[in-house]
Structures are given as C-alpha cells and as structure tokens.
C-alpha cells in the first residue's frame, strides 16, 4: 500500500511521506483493515488525489507556465534548425530567466527596482499600490502580448527572418515582465 505514495508529488512525499506510511501502517494494524477493500481505497485515492496535487502544483507555479513557453520556442528553434533561430531562442530563454530569477517589483520605491524594469513603474507612479488596486488587472494584458509574440516568433523561425524574430522576442519579454510585476504579492509596498 505504501507504493501508493509514488502517485503523489515529490514535495508531498518529502514533507509527509514518512507520516503517510505510518498512517497506512496504523490503518492496517489498529484499524483492523487488512483487507482488499482498504488497499483498494488507498490505491484509488492515490490515483485520484495524487494527480490532482501534481496538477495543482503545476498550475500554481508561474515558472512552469513560462517554462512551457520557453520550451515551445526552443522546440521551434530546433525544428527550424538554423544558428540564428538558436541564438534568438537562447535570447528568449535568457530574458525570461532574468525576469523569473529577479526579485524586483517595479511597483515599489524606485530605488528598490532593477534598472531594466523601471519603465514599468509608470503603471503606478505613487508606489502605494494595495491589494485592491486596479493595477493588478493589467497583468491580463500580458496574454495578448504573449500571443502576438508567439505568432511573430513562429513566422520568424519559419522564414528565418530576423525582424520578425526580434519583434517576437521583444513581445515575449514584455509579456513576461508585465505578468511578473503585476501579479506579485499585494501589497508590494505597505499602505501609507
């Protein structure tokens, strides 16, 4: 029955694996349920709850979603198979990683913002954003921008056309920036 643990995400197994095993032991010994029904119930639960946890982990991580975009671009570059596409795909990856790894939130005092993102502070010049600020809805602008960027990247890679590739890279980077800086934890700056 402990094999059911494998259905759960690694994080869950690390945090609760030993305890889960102990509880299964308890069910068998103290609960007197050493029967096929108990084994089946635990197995069925693992096969339903485990994948759901994995899905929730996936969806709760913006990094994974953006990694999917990066993967798409990388695969497109491989499919096109030219040096130029490889360079641009690598540029996209580096830009996205910079955005993801950076801790800066432009909706914050200007001195706390990395120079590459300061232009985005224009969305809230007062730097006193609260959790109810309409600024947070700006993040949805990232989706059409991202879509347009992917279209440009697709045709840029297909035609090996540098202008389209450049525009595509820029749009994807802008989309990542907008999403990151407007979907952070609110309030970024304590209310005055």
């Amino acid at each position: 029955m402990r094999a059911a643990l494998l259905a759960y995400p690694k994080e869950f197994r690390t945090d609760f694996g030993a305890e889960y095993a102990r509880t299964v032991d308890d069910i068998v010994t103290h609960g007197g349920r050493r029967d096929l029904g108990s084994a089946l119930r635990i197995a069925v639960e693992a096969l339903t709850v485990g994948p759901r946890m994995r899905w929730e982990n996936l969806m709760s991580s913006a990094r994974i979603m953006l990694s999917a975009v990066v993967g798409f671009v990388a695969l497109a570059a491989l499919a096109a198979g030219s040096t130029a596409t490889g360079i641009f795909a690598a540029s996209v990856i580096v830009l996205l990683l910079l955005q993801l790894a950076g801790r800066d939130r432009p909706i914050a005092p200007i001195e706390d913002v990395h120079p590459r993102s300061r232009w985005l502070r224009l969305v809230n010049p007062e730097a006193t954003t609260t959790k109810e600020s309409p600024v947070k809805h700006l993040r949805w602008l990232a989706l059409p921008v991202l879509g347009l960027g992917l279209v440009f990247l697709f045709f840029g890679l297909t035609w090996t056309a540098l202008p389209q590739l450049g525009v595509g890279v820029a749009l994807v980077a802008v989309a990542a920036s907008v999403w990151r800086v407007t979907a952070g934890v609110w309030p970024v700056v304590p209310e005055a």
């Binding site: 059911a4 259905a7 759960y8 869950f12 945090d15 609760f16 030993a18 305890e19 889960y20 095993a21 102990r22 509880t23 299964v24 308890d26 069910i27 103290h30 609960g31 119930r41 635990i42 639960e45 693992a46 709850v49 485990g50 946890m53 969806m59 709760s60 991580s61 913006a62 959790k131």
Partner: protein
C-alpha cells in the same frame, strides 16, 4: 493560474472552507492529534459516513499549514504509543477564528434550509 491566497487579516477570505478542511478543524477543535487520530475522529464523528484517506488528509493538512490555519506541535502527548514518524497538529489562533466563521456560515445556511423546509415539501 495560481489560486489567490486568502488574507490572514480577513477571515471571510478563507470561506467557504472545503469540506475536508472543516472536518479536520472539527477533529482538532478538542485537542491536538496526529494524522491517524484525525482520520479516526472524522470517521467517528460522522458515524462512519466520512472516511478520509491519508492522501486527502495530508494534502488538506499541507494546505492548511501553508495558510496558517494549522500548525505542527513539538509536544508529544502520547509518548507510550509514540512513533517518530508521527507528527501532532493543532489549530492556530487564525484557524480557530476561521473555524468559528465557517461554523456561523454553515449554521446560517442550515437555518435557512430549516426555515424553507428543504426536503420536506417546499416553503411555508
């Protein structure tokens, strides 16, 4: 898309609680317990109609710990039967307040159901 995290300063933002979370809260309302004891308590309180599996239990506990509703305690209330793999949990102050708010919400809902004679043939 990431789910919006409830605000610890706004108890209502936690509501409505998932059924599994409320069952766990009720089990922990009386005392701190380890996982298996929580499962047994839930089963006993529901007269056997709710059987929470270990995956559901620890998945819910993990979420509740992340939200600050439940915390692990260092005390080992039952040393004779203890096992180092066992961990004991209790409600936090926030958990108590959220539990009270959910109880009030459910009570109001039940009252409304009673007033309208839900399942008894329609409104008065």
């Amino acid at each position: 898309m990431a789910k919006r995290q409830p605000d610890p300063d706004d108890v209502d933002s936690f509501l409505p609680l998932p059924a599994s979370a409320m069952h766990i809260m009720v089990a922990l309302a009386g005392d701190e317990r380890h996982g298996y004891a929580i499962m047994r308590d839930i089963e006993d309180l529901s007269s056997g109609s709710v059987r929470m599996g270990p995956g559901t239990l620890y998945g819910s506990l993990k979420r509740m710990i992340d939200q600050g509703l439940v915390e692990e305690t260092d005390e080992r209330p039952d040393p004779a039967l203890d096992d180092e793999r066992r961990r004991y949990y209790r409600l936090t102050d926030l958990g108590q307040r959220v539990g009270a708010a959910e109880r009030a919400r459910l009570s109001a809902l039940l009252e409304a159901a009673h007033m309208r004679q839900l399942g008894l043939g329609g409104a008065v």
